[in-house]
């Protein structure tokens, strides 16, 4: 999975003029699929460095609240926490949900490490084989991402409040798509979690 997405990132990044080394370094250090796709597509359509940085960073601001949910289950020295926190990505965080807002640290780290190797390896193959593969959309990879998130979402809908937050989040995001830069709709949707302030 991560390999296939890494591969499509490699292909797209190469096609948008990022060269070969930069996409691989980005996969190793940024390690966040949607932000990297956003940066590559902004650069590819001539949006410039500032717009690319803005879109990608905005998309990744969700990691601030996400990393807060991980904090209680992560001990150790500040340096080890800093390094291990880099394995937090949407997918590793989603599969590690242990209910009640807690995450399973072992699953998070294991899944994160697997995803990292798949993602970086896929990017390498993608930039090298860009000429042969063509457009990844042909293989339906763009629908695979939302399908994964849908499967993970269904597992999360264990209360009325969770369903309300999901409906609200999707509505906020879709409403904003026509009016805002890529990334903004997802960040704004995180506001839907504030229904948790309301006692039931």
């Amino acid at each position: 999975m991560a390999f296939a997405f890494g591969l499509s990132f490699g292909v797209l990044a190469k096609a948008s003029g990022m060269g070969s080394l930069a996409p691989v370094v980005m996969s190793m250090t940024t390690f966040a699929g949607s932000a990297q796709f956003a940066a590559a597509s902004v650069l590819g359509t001539g949006g410039g460095a500032l717009a690319a940085i803005g879109a990608a960073t905005l998309l990744n601001t969700r990691y601030a609240p996400i990393s807060l949910t991980v904090a209680p289950s992560m001990g150790g020295s500040p340096l080890s926490r800093l390094l291990r926190s880099q394995l937090i990505v949407d997918e590793s965080w989603a599969v590690a949900q242990a209910g009640g807002g807690r995450v399973d640290r072992r699953i998070l780290m294991g899944a994160g490490a697997l995803l990292w190797f798949g993602w970086v390896g896929g990017t390498v193959v993608g930039v090298l084989g860009a000429g042969f593969i063509g457009n990844p959309a042909r293989y339906g990879l763009d629908a695979a991402f939302p399908a994964l998130f849908l499967a993970l979402l269904v597992a999360q809908l264990d209360s009325r409040r969770a369903i309300l937050a999901a409906v609200l989040g999707a509505t906020i995001a879709l409403t904003l798509v026509p009016f805002s830069a890529a990334g903004v709709p997802i960040i704004a949707a995180s506001l839907a979690c504030l229904v948790g302030l309301w006692r039931s």
Binding site: Y63, G101, A144, G169
Partner: protein, 102 residues
């Protein structure tokens, strides 16, 4: 420095800081209950947004295209409690098929 490397460096540094914020600042400590209730709902809210945007967002517009076939296949696979990998592959295959036929 080229534009591309500037993007790689700045986005990389920002992402490292964002991911580390929680664990470095309050690692090992528990969150207060109201905060916990709110962050519990972050997962469904963000996942639903990722699904919606991934399926219906085009370039600054909402679009209905072959990805809907993928959504249908994924929903069907979920309804029969198929494993996640099957759900994902079904969505990709259905979308690719719809594109090839369309």
């Amino acid at each position: 420095m080229s534009e591309v490397w500037l993007v790689v460096l700045v986005v990389g540094a920002a992402t490292v800081a964002l991911k580390a914020a929680g664990p470095v600042l309050l690692g090992g400590r528990d969150l207060p209950p109201p905060v916990l209730r709110v962050v519990t709902l972050l997962a469904p809210a963000l996942l639903a947004a990722l699904v919606a945007v991934g399926l219906f967002a085009g370039d600054r517009q909402l679009v209905l295209d072959e990805r809907v076939a993928g959504l249908g296949a994924a929903a069907l696979a979920l309804a029969v409690r198929a494993p996640i990998l099957v759900v994902v592959v079904a969505a990709a295959v259905a979308t690719a098929l719809a594109r090839a036929l369309g």
